[in-house]
Symmetry: C2
Subunit: 213 residues, 2 copies
């Protein structure tokens, strides 16, 4: 591979490293007694960390935490940059919560601890969108069901937070109450996740060399 | 660990092994020119293979295949065995397709190639439910939109098919046309997936010893 400039700026991450990131963050959540009632995975990036962290948020005899998926994509990632300004939105919603199915077995999100999971916090645009829309969704449910006193507590878990200027913010309260959980804060490099690797053996070796195993 | 009877019946699978399973099955799909238009992940087990296989179903310059999640759980896995008979259903639906959000950017499932993904085909109950309900869903959409001539093609991808008597079946046509894709057919052993591992280093070593890396 050689030590070209391009290599240096790439951070290779193994599956086992990601597994341990999830395990570590989950241990922190459990130590504080803040086990979530529901996990919301942002597809596609959030699906893998969401499934892994669920394993570590389970106590003996407890049921699995239900996972709901929401599909959010940035226009820029879909090669639709030119449409952003005319449409006036940066995020495309491809799937939303299914309250109809959820409530039959789970009540609703009202009054619950909700853990939102994604793989990376890059510009913070997607996370901002997710939190804002979910809060709004719960609020309108509360009004509809006349349950406005109950407090819903949102937390965020990402594998990596990129240390860079963000285009959007998250609620003050979430930050000050340590409900924003990044397993690692990293420089603004190219994150090479294992699920994108065309040669997983070579990828894992590179991750080990970089200490990301 | 020692070679106790319990150990022998456990099959340890590493993340890298799962990655390669997805890569191999995807190569087969691409070689046949049968790239799916949409992936449907059955949560929680299907989320990891769904996200991984998507990487290998992408050609240069093509957009990511959209993923929709559906939440299906067996009553028996939720400790609700005793309720099954009275309710008369074996599967709990916790999330369904979000056609409202999907169609804005994607049309619908009508006339599409749809790849349903789960981790394991054990009794086949969940997969049977998923295919039956999805076919029905598409059918009613077709009638609603007056597009009954278009053929929707469902395929299934699982990491492991357990070689055991099944409680439910899949469409004949799907089997005969090789649209049921199991990366591996295994005996009826205890599959230890990496995302359940409390010690991922030890787990990976055990998987390597068993040749599942």
């Amino acid at each position: 591979m050689g030590g070209t400039v391009e290599d240096v700026q790439k951070m290779y991450i193994s599956y086992n490293n990601i597994h341990k990131c999830c395990q570590r963050v989950a241990a922190g959540i459990m130590a504080k007694g803040e086990r979530p009632d529901v996990i919301i995975a942002i597809t596609g990036g959030g699906m893998i960390p969401a499934r892994i962290i669920r394993s570590f948020l389970k106590s003996r005899g407890q049921k699995n935490i239900p996972i709901q998926a929401i599909g959010l994509s940035l226009y820029e990632d879909m090669g639709l940059d030119d449409q952003v300004e005319s449409i006036g939105k940066e995020v495309i919603r491809t799937q939303w919560l299914d309250f109809g199915s959820l409530e039959q077995h789970f009540d609703s999100l009202i009054g619950k601890r909700v853990l939102i999971v994604d793989e990376v916090d890059d510009t913070r645009t997607t996370l901002h969108y997710a939190v804002t829309e979910l809060e709004q969704e719960v609020r309108s449910q509360q009004i509809k069901l006349n349950r406005i006193e109950e407090k819903t507590i949102f937390s965020i878990f990402v594998l990596h937070n990129k240390d860079k200027p963000k285009k959007a913010s998250l609620p003050e309260e979430m930050m000050s109450e340590d409900r924003y959980l990044a397993a690692e804060t990293v420089p603004d490099v190219w994150l090479c996740y294992p699920w994108e690797a065309m040669d997983i053996e070579e990828h894992t070796e590179l991750a080990i060399k970089q200490g990301n195993n």
